[in-house]
């Protein structure tokens, strides 16, 4: 298993973070929300410049780690583009990206994009995206699908894990913003960070973020080494990612106070745009149910199983 990404992957992630910042940083998501049709034009050139589409996360471990680092950096800036989904594109279908969908009301964050997409259910049924419904919040749209085959089981784990890396990047940023805020904001003549009640809430959030970080690396290793339980590991990661996001965003909003809800505050954008990652293809309860059903009484691979 891996306890950290390679130095090259981490450096690539830092480079991506700088590139997104240079392209507009926090302004990107605001511009895209105003004109969803501009998403490709806003972000596509940055990703191409980084060499994102040359990464090979399916057959190359270095490429897989670099893809994860890229997704994390995209999450950090709430980049308004399905980076993880593009990187998960299947090799044997003529598609630019892959969306993992639920069996009912298949949806994805594809509003405003004209690229060619494939979809796969958790059971491996693959489809082409033949049409998009009306755009909802967070660029979510229902997908019209045309069935292709049932050969997508091997696609699912990667399609679930990379978006968790995006969500992890959002949690990195949310905590970073919150630490800055409570270090500056004063009440009763002292910074918020000097209150133990504030400090302890912050640690609750950090434990969740830190735990997600290590589980994300485990799930990546599981895919990269073709572990037989890679899908269970991916679902386990997803369950933890959603739980972590719930804790982190709740704490970060609380510690930001009213200003955290204002559009002039980055947290407000991160929080809103984390929602599709947390609800699609399955929310917390459905993800846990799916994992429970799949593992039966065997549980997860570990010290005693």
């Amino acid at each position: 298993m891996i306890l950290d990404l390679s130095d090259d992957a981490k450096e690539f992630g830092r480079e991506a973070r700088r590139a997104f910042e240079a392209a507009g940083g926090d302004q990107l998501v605001q511009d895209a929300e105003a004109k969803p049709a501009n998403r490709e034009a806003l972000v596509g050139p940055v990703l191409a410049g980084l060499g994102a589409w040359e990464l090979d996360p399916r057959t190359d471990t270095d490429g897989l780690e670099a893809a994860a680092a890229l997704c994390r950096s995209a999450g950090y800036w709430a980049v308004p583009y399905p980076v993880a989904e593009r990187l998960a594109a299947p090799l044997d279908l003529d598609a630019d990206g892959l969306v993992v969908v639920a069996g009912t009301r298949p949806s994805g964050v594809l509003a405003g994009l004209e690229s060619r997409w494939a979809a796969v259910t958790l059971d491996g049924a693959r489809s082409r995206v033949s049409g998009l419904g009306d755009a909802g919040p967070g660029f979510v749209t229902e997908l019209e699908l045309s069935a292709v085959d049932d050969d997508g089981a091997a696609d699912v784990a990667l399609g679930l894990v990379l978006p968790c890396w995006t969500l992890l990047g959002m949690l990195d940023r949310a905590i970073e913003l919150t630490v800055s805020h409570i270090s500056l904001r004063k009440q009763f003549g002292q910074t918020l960070s000097s209150f133990q009640g504030v400090q302890f809430q912050l640690t609750d959030a950090e434990v969740e973020r830190s735990g997600l970080d290590i589980l994300a690396k485990y799930a990546l290793w599981s895919i990269g080494t073709d572990q037989p339980d890679a899908l269970n590991d991916a679902l386990s990661l997803r369950m933890s990612a959603i739980e972590a996001a719930e804790v982190v965003f709740r704490v970060c909003h609380q510690l930001h106070g009213a200003v955290g809800f204002c559009d002039e505050t980055t947290l407000s954008w991160l929080s809103r745009y984390s929602q599709p990652l947390r609800r699609l293809p399955l929310g917390l309860s459905a993800t846990r149910d799916e994992l429970t059903r799949r593992v039966g009484g065997s549980g997860l691979t570990g010290l005693f199983a």
Partner: protein, 379 residues
């Protein structure tokens, strides 16, 4: 973790399965046979050079890798610490004496620890000095060529069975409260020491009061430098940074639950089975966080917050998994031949877990450490 670590895990499991009673729930029960079983197991480990695996070769150890040491922590805790109280001597008393002890102290104390023959207790906490340890009041006042120690320790585990105490006392009133403290290595059979057990939910021997009434100590009993004991305390803390591998016992019991339930497993509510899966994920999370701490520590890149985040996660896991296991245990048929084993294990786990956020550095102290690290990084 590597082939050597995997082989070690298999060896340790075989030794535990072959030599420890199935219903062993730790050495500290009212049944003296449990302590005898643990002592015999320690001698067995010592004979196979497995007891002091982590020690340097020059002190008769196995110079084990950090991952082999991790395996030992996991397997011992998963199986109710069959080394009994010896783990303390092996894990940190011995290594601290290697670093700070005189040659005479090393010759006197290290061989019995390495043979698994001696039990130590830690004389740190006091009624008015828990997390704020440096506020302790036990004093060693000068007397001739030595000192007379007076005061009270509390929550002292294994004091009733220990032969030696790793005692922290105030020798001088320093400018700061961390100054003027000294470590003494004192024999527990001295008549100036009285031990009073405190009955508690974890069972006997876990908690005791220890009273020192003009205990005479000399320079030969001092570990390190007089008045500079606090730096040794800090080192003890760093030895305990990763601490007990609590996740290993949680995982062992959670993994056993479906087998114990048998066909009835699928009849459990989906909600309870979902909580069980969630706990397995949290076991994995805590285990990987522990591995990250081990890796960072071995490469010298660790920050206090790294270990604190893990300690918070693993102690919460201990308590959360105990609640889930108690709920599962309520569904176990008592006719099952292994029911008694499982129910005993789960009840013991639940009782122990209540203390996990209090002992060896409370969760509040861990939160303070973690928040300091986070806030310092922002400056």
């Amino acid at each position: 973790m590597g082939q050597k670590a995997d082989e070690l895990r298999a060896d340790l499991r075989e030794l535990v399965n072959s030599n420890m009673p199935e219903h062993f729930l730790g050495a500290f029960t009212d049944d003296p046979a449990d302590l005898e079983a643990a002592q015999a197991f320690c001698r067995l480990l010592a004979e196979r050079n497995l007891l002091c695996l982590s020690w340097p070769e020059e002190f008769g150890g196995g110079a084990a890798s950090v991952w082999e040491q991790t395996v030992v922590r996991e397997e011992m805790w998963a199986h109710h610490e069959p080394r009994g109280a010896q783990y303390m001597g092996v894990n940190w008393v011995g290594p601290i004496i290697m670093r700070h002890g005189t040659e005479e102290q090393q010759q006197k104390h290290l061989p019995p620890i390495a043979r698994g023959e001696v039990i130590w207790c830690q004389g740190f906490s006091e009624p008015e000095a828990g997390s704020d340890l440096a506020s302790l009041r036990t004093t060693a006042r000068p007397d001739g060529d030595g000192w007379l120690v007076s005061g009270q320790k509390i929550w002292t585990s294994y004091a009733t069975m220990a032969q030696w105490c790793f005692l922290l006392a105030r020798t001088t009133k320093g400018e700061k409260k961390q100054q003027g403290l000294t470590i003494f290595l004192v024999p527990m059979d001295d008549p100036a020491i009285q031990v009073r057990p405190i009955r508690c939910m974890m069972g006997p021997h876990h908690l005791n009061e220890v009273f020192f009434d003009d205990l005479r100590v000399t320079q030969a009993d001092v570990l390190g430098t007089v008045d500079d004991g606090w730096s040794i305390v800090q080192e003890v803390t760093s030895f305990e940074r990763v601490g007990i591998a609590r996740y290993a016992r949680c995982e062992r019991l959670l993994a056993a639950a479906p087998t114990i339930l048998g066909n009835r497993w699928d009849e459990l509510s989906a909600e309870l089975r979902g909580r069980w899966v969630r706990m397995l994920t949290h076991c994995r999370r805590a285990r990987l966080m522990a591995y990250r701490v081990v890796s960072l520590q071995s490469s010298g890149r660790i920050k206090p917050g790294d270990a604190a985040a893990y300690r918070i996660a693993v102690t919460k896991l201990d308590q959360d998994s105990a609640e889930v296991l108690m709920e599962i245990a309520a569904e176990v048929s008592h006719d099952d031949p292994r029911a008694a084993w499982f129910l005993g294990e789960v009840e013991d786990h639940w009782k122990y877990s209540q203390a996990s956020t209090v002992s060896s550095g409370s969760i509040e102290m861990q939160r303070i450490l973690l928040s300091r690290t986070l806030l310092a990084a922002a400056k």
